[in-house]
């Protein structure tokens, strides 16, 4: 068959192109624009070159926020992935309780992020919150507005509460796709519970786990709403993650140039780390094919 060449295809692509341009490319370019210029308002701009980038990359404030963000992501991954796998393994594979469990698991995922923040903000208060009040009553010192450790614990527990379900549901989907014969064969081979997990369940969950880790990493690295609602980045700067810092800088201090430079650096870091995660995890165990 002969291929037809005409420009009709452009008309098909154009709407999407326009949409992407307005929603992503143009805003991104505005940010790039701001990041290399200085402005004092009045729509006057001065060329700044790489000055803002140098400033951001050298600033201790940025380093601290980046470190906090990495630590946060690693901690919640270290908790949510094993916990999610464990819960998925414990869930029933058939019968009446399956839909019940699935709905229960999906509930936290359906709650808007700032509502989750508000829930925990109230939940942890010593005067009216169930958790805060109970801990105070038991004599355990807990005050997330003043104690950085308590603030961190609150933010982490909140994230675990909110997002472990995602890992559970993905793992569960991987688990239920394993045919019954695998378990029967393992029994006949005399495999232990651990071996069944290690050689049957884990390999079958490999792909969904990859997605779960990637999603959780990206989301947690970009976390903003929940800690902002609960702690506002405090006490001090102890829960000021990159995104919170960015908003402070751009809107609080109106330092548009450095904020734009920081956004770009931030964006590149997320992109690079996600790529590294993805390549490492997809290549894992793929050798010797």
């Amino acid at each position: 068959m002969e291929k037809t060449w005409n420009n009709k295809a452009w008309f098909m692509v154009l709407p999407v192109l326009l949409l992407v341009a307005f929603s992503a490319v143009i805003p991104l370019m505005t940010v790039v624009n701001y990041s290399v210029q200085d402005t004092f308002g009045n729509n006057e701009f001065f060329w700044a070159g790489t000055e803002w980038f140098e400033e951001v990359l050298a600033s201790e404030r940025f380093h601290d926020a980046l470190f906090r963000n990495l630590a946060f992501s690693l901690i919640i991954l270290a908790i949510e992935v094993p916990l999610g796998i464990a819960i998925a393994l414990a869930m029933p594979r058939s019968g009446f309780w399956v839909p019940v469990c699935l709905v229960l698991m999906a509930l936290p995922l359906l709650i808007p992020w700032n509502v989750v923040g508000t829930i925990w903000q109230v939940f942890g208060r010593a005067d009216i919150g169930l958790l805060g009040h109970t801990l105070a009553y038991l004599g355990i010192p807990y005050n997330y507005t003043q104690d950085p450790v308590a603030a961190w614990i609150t933010v982490i527990v909140m994230d675990v509460w909110h997002w472990t379900s995602l890992v559970v549901l993905l793992c569960y989907a991987g688990l239920v796709s394993i045919p019954e014969a695998y378990y029967q064969a393992a029994k006949i081979d005399g495999a232990s519970r651990w071996s069944v997990f290690r050689y049957i369940q884990l390999p079958k969950m490999h792909r969904v786990l990859l997605i779960a880790v990637l999603l959780r990493f990206m989301d947690s690295f970009m976390i903003y709403t929940e800690p902002f609602v609960v702690t506002g980045g405090g006490p001090g700067n102890s829960t000021t993650f990159l995104s919170i810092d960015l908003v402070k800088m751009a809107i609080g201090q109106f330092d548009l140039g450095p904020a734009a430079a920081m956004s770009i650096v931030y964006f590149l870091i997320v992109l690079a780390l996600s790529w590294v995660f993805y390549t490492v995890m997809t290549n894992y165990g793929q050798d010797e094919r």
Partner: protein
Amino acid sequence: MSRITLDHIAHSYLPSPKTEADFALKEVHQVWEDGSAYALLGPSGCGKTTLLNIISGLITPSHGRVVFGERDVTLLPTEARNIAQVFQFPVIYDTMTVAENLAFPLKNRKVPQAEIDRRVAETIEMLGLGPMARRKARGLTADQKQKISLGRGLVRSDVNAILFDEPLTVIDPHMKWQLRSQLKQLHRRYGFTMVYVTHDQTEALTFADKVVVMYAGEVVQVGTPAELFERPKHTFVGYFIGSPGMNVLPAEVAGDRAVVGGHAVALGQHYRPQPGRTEIGVRPEFVRLDDGAGSLPISVRSVEDIGRYRILRGAIGPHELNAVLPEGRAIPASPRVVFDPARVNVYRDAHLVEAEA
């Protein structure tokens, strides 16, 4: 290796079965001889997989006992029974190499490493998996994977029996023959007891010393392939085995004559008058075109040319009748057939009736 006795086994998947119909497997009393190859043959849902799972211990029967040799294993779990099972879909451990897959059951049983190495090498040799021993099992073809699942059974020195649950379902047709004959060779050489579940009669007849035909939860006949062909004990066996299956025609039986739709048919042997529903069964192979004395008129629906012979699909009155005819002879416009009297079986309520001595 040991003899397997199924002592009045029955199984229902319901918690409190009441009627006969609640049982997926009706009472079976069978002895599987040590070192023989058995095929469990029957249509889907006839209870053959249930029976296999009872032997392997994946299901505990509602009634009866399972005895290996002299040992009652009814309540023992699968792993304590020393059986091996090959499933419909190849089960392999994706992340392990072929050799590691084979070593897995031995490792779990804490066999010394030197012994593991020796037995794994032996099994790889037996199955002809040598070239891929060090490769990941994941990348292999379906038939190679199925060999690995078989190998995980063969590698153990303690297996009482190897059970096969329709193991060739996902194998390409041209590999099926090869794998099956390899299986037969292994059986002849090493003499394991083998139980092979299938719904494919060719597979059953070529593989097994004895074929157990099941129908609606019951064992309807146990016999050699020749017995099943010549003397089906149940009209279902006659119909299920052979291609096309046995012709079954309602008939009145008296003495050495049967009357089919007003025409007399010679029976070769003498039968007592039978109460209940009587039928005669004759295989298409023993139906001849002949318009001599005692022949029956048939109507022809179609003729299929298979190459070496032709299959005539026709009817006597309302009843279907197939005949296998040699090549070359023209089929007359209004054909008549005769049955080989020695090959006509008599059935009452679907069960074979023995002739009077």
